[in-house]
């Protein structure tokens, strides 16, 4: 019961966030980039519910638009990492032998580095920007999916229904897509929710370090970076964007945790 209510809470948070991202232009009270230097660093008021930043921009509107960046980074990174990991993990697990050895050593090399360190290194070389952040996160993100898929396929390869499908003349692509993939979905779904949370935090970290999304585009990480200079006079610049990241990651973690617990119980 606790799992289900946590799942419900997590899904509700995520639906609200996706809704906010889609409806941002309609619900944001001001433009996220409109400057008003006469009204800089204001605290909460009726006109600006969460105050204004150093350029007089409305913090609430920037946070609402920032949802788009986080959701975009999360979904894009997970989608591309998943596709790459699925292909590489399937080939590795299904064919085995030297192909498996080669691909898994590549995964080992990439996993030997802390993920965020590689992302920092990639964006340092590629230069800052949203596209480079997504590229960097995909380049490091696919490895965990590949390893998971490979492990599952290795186990499935020996099952009778797979031997039957092969005996009926099913080629590798057909057997993998039609017979193995449906069995991979539950663990992959869990991995995707945690992967999305990790991608959102990584994007925030990179933007906070000035290596991610560049001004004036509103991103929660870059808002926190700007807010750092005004901790003394305008702590609201730090509090609210961070809260937005935390709620998003919390929602994803709640969904991931409760799905895992529910599937574990089902497995038993």
């Amino acid at each position: 019961m606790a799992d289900r209510s946590a799942l419900f809470l997590g899904v509700t948070i995520l639906l609200l966030l996706v809704g906010t991202a889609l409806l941002a232009p309609g619900i944001a009270p001001h433009s996220p980039t409109e400057q008003n230097l006469e009204r800089d660093l204001l605290s909460s008021s009726r006109e600006h519910l969460l105050g204004t930043d150093k350029l007089g921009r409305d913090v609430l509107s920037r946070i609402l638009y920032g949802t788009r960046i986080s959701i975009l980074v999360g979904i894009t990174t997970v989608t591309f990492s998943l596709l790459l990991g699925l292909v590489i993990g399937s080939v590795s697990g299904y064919f085995g032998g030297w192909v498996d050895q080669l691909l898994m050593r590549l995964v080992d090399i990439l996993m030997a580095f802390p993920g965020i360190l590689l992302a920092i290194a990639f964006t340092a070389v590629l230069g800052p920007g949203l596209d480079h952040v997504i590229l960097a996160l995909c380049l490091i993100g696919w490895t965990s999916y590949a390893r998971l898929v490979r492990g599952e396929i290795l186990a499935l390869r020996e099952k009778e229904f797979i031997h039957a499908a092969q005996a009926l003349g099913g080629g590798p692509a057909r057997v993998i897509v039609l017979h193995m993939l449906p069995n991979l979905l539950p663990p992959l779904l869990i991995q995707c929710t945690f992967g999305m949370a990790a991608a959102i935090i990584a994007e925030g970290s990179l933007s906070f370090l000035g290596l991610g999304v560049q001004p004036p585009t509103p991103s929660w990480g870059s808002m926190l970076n700007e807010g750092r200079q005004f901790l003394l006079v305008a702590p609201h610049l730090t509090t609210y964007p961070g809260l937005a990241i935390m709620i998003t990651v919390l929602g994803l973690n709640l969904v991931g945790d409760s799905l895992r617990d529910l599937l574990d119980k089902k497995g038993k």
Binding site: I109, A112, F113, P114, G115, I116, L117, L118, I120, A121, F122, A124, V125, L126, G127, A197, I201, G204, S205, F208, L209, G210, L211, G221, L224, G227, R228, L231, L232, P235, T238, T239, P241, G242, L243, I245, M246, V249, L250, N253, L254, D257
Partner: protein, 286 residues
């Protein structure tokens, strides 16, 4: 890997360093200075031979050897990372143990909430929040710098929070799992006190998963130190890395990333050795 990252990733480092508007002559001079005009094989060989003798090249901005710059900053990062681990263990052990003993009580629920929040709270938010509360509002602890224990508290709490959250959850679930094992039932049947059963038998067997997490998380801590050191202007390797990236000092960026990655690999190796010590059933090689 670090070498190929700098050399093979699409884009020209020289252009990134000098900007798109730089003249071709300037670009050629810098390319020659960095040795980037040599064939890739030659560059890799020079990089490897340099590495053997501890030569990581010269910093373009500081005009000093990369190795000496890193050596000067490394102790600060090590100090911060170790403090974060100690703090995480100090919080996680009592909380995890009590949560397992008092399963389904309010403290158990608190420990679950603590873990969930700790994992969802990014350190680039937690750090500034701690500064607002403990330095600005209450004036108890310094905002930045290094030197005393007071300087160490906020950065290590920021860095160690996620680890404390993971460890609390891990210790709690490992203890709850161990309690169903046969040998624990035997301990109780023998008439051992609950305290002895918990501390001497159950806890010792859950230590293996704690060591795994500490080992695996060490890399995350080293990488996380880049952000924490930036927030608290902590004079360590992480801040040096960011300064090097900001000044486009590629030899220094390469050196810093290499040292962080090697430290991470070394800790993983140590973790494997400690494993064997804690559980003699584990063997490598055969």
């Amino acid at each position: 890997m670090v070498f190929f990252l700098i050399h093979l990733v699409p884009g020209d480092p020289v252009e990134v360093m000098l900007g798109e508007t730089a003249s071709n002559t300037d670009k050629e001079i810098l390319r020659h200075e960095l040795g980037l005009d040599q064939p890739l094989g030659t560059q890799y060989f020079r990089f490897l031979t340099g590495l053997i003798f501890g030569d990581l090249g010269r910093s373009l901005y500081e005009q000093e050897s990369v190795a000496s710059l890193i050596l000067a900053r490394f102790p600060a990062t090590l100090e911060l990372t170790l403090a974060a681990i100690i703090l995480a263990l100090t919080v996680a052990f009592p909380l995890g143990i009590v949560a397992a003993i008092k399963n389904r009580s309010w403290i158990d629920r608190f420990s679950l909430l603590f873990s969930l929040l700790g994992l969802s709270m990014p350190n680039f938010w937690l750090g500034p929040l701690l500064i607002i509360v403990f330095s600005i509002e209450w004036g108890w602890l310094p905002v930045s710098g290094r030197g005393t224990l007071a300087h160490l508290l906020l950065p290590s709490a920021t860095l160690g929070m996620a680890m404390a959250a993971i460890l609390t959850r891990m210790i709690r679930s490992a203890l709850l799992e161990v309690l169903h094992e046969d040998y624990i039932q035997t301990d109780r049947a023998k008439g051992l006190s609950e305290k002895k059963v918990w501390l001497k038998h159950a806890l010792r067997n859950s230590l293996l998963s704690v060591v795994t997490i500490v080992g695996l998380q060490f890399g995350a801590l080293l990488a996380g130190s880049i952000i924490t050191e930036t927030i608290f202007t902590w004079p360590g390797l992480g801040r040096l890395t960011i300064q090097a990236i900001q000044t486009r000092d590629y030899p220094l960026v390469q050196g810093c990333i290499l040292v962080i990655a090697i430290s991470y690999l070394l800790v993983n190796l140590i973790t494997d050795i400690v494993y064997r010590f804690l559980d003699p059933r584990i063997s490598y090689g055969r």
